[in-house]
């Protein structure tokens, strides 16, 4: 087990009388992709800013690769893509990236490769003012790739990206994690995060209400599995009576059951024989889980 790249220990931040972050403890090891989910105002961006050292904690501690957040050592190890990333419109993409490369201590020569990697090679020498929102986001991603970061913080990285760009983005994130970087993705895009992350943390009103793998969270929440049975013509009534589910749109019956009763339910359904035409099993999705954890009383 490698040392965690990022450690939050009871991190607390107050703004006036409101507690924006409340005793958050979390750690992230190299190569792990963590999805940080939460409503607007749940504290995601504040947490990221605290990790960057841009905002001071009122209590608790954060360490980034063993260093204090915002220290020169920590900043050299961290890459950041802010939400709605902004640049100097008068600079070209290449100039802006070369500027960041120099700050990161990397040869500006690598910028061409990076711009190519994010699909901006053709627009590299145009002023950023002429870029679309998606292109700016890609440039933001390119700068996050500079300087071999050990911790990558991405705040709503998919906002403003079309589906193809999103696919590219997650491919690049996978590449960074494979290269050993710990990646924290704050996002609303639940379905994509589901497939692309190793762990999920959910913030609600500044509290960390969940932090585990998707499978473990699913198990802990014990959300019911949904079974939808399509009955043969005229047999819907009989199927509904036999299984005790609810009728939907005439020919189908919907049934919810806890995960551990799934097999028993399936046995009863197959026992109905030819009356059943088709069966659909839907495990609880991330959206259901998210709703469950973000509404749960603490």
């Amino acid at each position: 087990m490698s040392d965690p790249v990022l450690v939050l220990d009871n991190a607390t931040k107050r703004r006036g009388s409101a507690t924006v972050l409340s005793e958050i403890s979390l750690d992230l090891t190299a190569g792990t992709r963590l999805a940080l989910l939460g409503h607007n105002g749940a504290g995601k961006s504040t947490l990221i800013k605290a990790v960057l050292g841009l905002t001071r904690l009122d209590a608790g501690r954060i360490t980034v690769c063993g260093a204090a957040p915002g220290s020169a050592a920590a900043r050299a190890d961290v890459a950041y893509l802010p939400e709605a990333v902004a640049f100097h419109g008068a600079l070209t993409g290449r100039e802006q990236l070369a500027f960041f490369a120099r700050l990161a201590g990397e040869a500006p020569k690598r910028c061409g490769t990076l711009l190519d990697q994010v699909g901006l090679a053709a627009a590299a020498d145009r002023r950023i003012a002429t870029y679309s929102k998606g292109m700016r986001q890609r440039l933001g991603l390119a700068q996050a790739l500079l300087g071999r970061p050990r911790l990558v913080l991405l705040d709503e990285p998919t906002s403003g990206l079309d589906p193809v760009s999103r696919f590219d983005l997650y491919r690049i994130i996978d590449g960074m994690a494979a290269a050993g970087a710990a990646v924290l993705i704050a996002s609303h895009a639940l379905t994509e995060v589901e497939a692309r992350t190793d762990r999920i943390a959910i913030l609600r009103d500044g509290r960390l209400v969940a932090d585990d793998t998707l499978a473990a969270l699913t198990r802990a929440a014990a959300l019911p599995i949904r079974l939808r049975i399509r009955a043969r013509a005229g047999a819907a009534e009989r199927v509904a009576e036999a299984l005790g589910g609810t009728r939907v749109n005439g020919a189908s019956v919907e049934l919810c059951c806890p995960a551990d009763e799934k097999m028993a339910a399936l046995a009863r359904i197959t026992g109905l024989g030819v009356a059943v035409e088709d069966l659909e099993v839907t495990p609880p999705g991330l959206e259901d889980l998210y709703r469950y954890y973000s509404k749960e009383a603490v």
């Binding site: 960057l52 841009l54 905002t55 950041y80 100097h88 008068a90 100039e95 700050l103 990161a104």
Partner: protein, 275 residues
């Protein structure tokens, strides 16, 4: 502090100064005013025992006191507030670059731009004087001193501009404060002193305190330095009296320490910002 990172900031900032036309406009303004003053000032030469360029330097010193702080504040007020407003400050500060380094880098590029504007503007006046009359060595030195001290005066107000930029709520507020700073240092300060001297007459204040209070203001220190250093400029400007009351080092000391003070204050204000 790392020279590499300071230069990186300066390099990007130098591109911006060229692209946003500040450099062209500032140079153009300097050239136009310097030309106008040189040509208008060429009429009464001889009577005061000063050659044409010396007279021009005296009038351009007065011009510089107004114009250079204005140009410096115009470029300085946006330095931090603009980044903050645009939303690019957070990303910049996530890089391993210190806030002092960011300010120094910007100051380097902005000072360079001011130096270009001053050298070309005042230089044109020198070339003009050279073309139509004799130029003494002393006048040439006075001109070079004017260029150098103008750039130094510019750095004072760049630093004050950064201070406002870091301390104000936004670019709009910073711009308003910049106008106020210009008015206080360049206009109201002197008016206030004048009023006190008029009331005091030939009292102790006028003779002993006034020159020191005057030289504490960077704009006046700039004027005094240029006048005290050149007898002929002093004669041409009629300001020799105040300059004689002070030791020679007073005005240069004031003008050299102001940029340092302004810069340190700006850095302190910048450090308090949470983007």
């Amino acid at each position: 502090m790392s020279a590499r990172r300071i230069l990186a900031v300066a390099r990007a900032e130098a591109i911006l100064v060229r692209r946003n036309r500040w450099l062209v406009m500032a140079t153009l303004i300097m050239v136009l005013f310097a030309l106008a003053l040189s040509l208008a000032g060429s009429a009464p030469t001889g009577e005061l025992g000063a050659d044409m360029l010396t007279v021009s330097v005296a009038s351009m010193t007065t011009l510089s006191v107004y114009l250079v702080p204005l140009l410096a504040l115009l470029i300085g007020f946006d330095a931090i507030a603009g980044e903050r407003e645009r939303g690019s400050l957070g990303l910049l500060l996530s890089y391993p670059v210190g806030r002092g380094e960011i300010l120094l880098g910007k100051a380097l590029a902005h000072t360079g731009a001011l130096a270009v504007a001053c050298t070309i503007g005042f230089g044109v006046s020198g070339v003009l004087a050279f073309a139509i009359s004799d130029v003494s060595e002393a006048a040439l030195i006075a001109l070079m001193r004017l260029v150098a001290t103008s750039v130094l005066l510019g750095t004072v107000f760049l630093g004050l501009g950064y201070l406002l930029s870091a301390g104000a709520a936004g670019p709009g507020a910073a711009a308003g404060l910049a106008a106020g700073v210009w008015l206080v240092f360049v206009v109201l300060y002197d008016l206030g002193l004048l009023a006190v001297v008029v009331i005091d007459g030939d009292g102790a204040f006028s003779r002993h305190v006034f020159p020191w209070v005057m030289t504490a203001n960077p704009a006046d220190a700039f004027r005094l330095w240029n006048i005290a250093a050149s007898d002929t400029v002093a004669i041409a400007s009629g300001m020799g009296g105040a300059a004689d009351a002070l030791p020679r080092w007073a005005a240069p000391a004031s003008l050299i320490s102001w940029p340092v003070i302004a810069f340190l204050a700006a850095r302190a204000a910048f450090r308090r910002i949470e983007p």
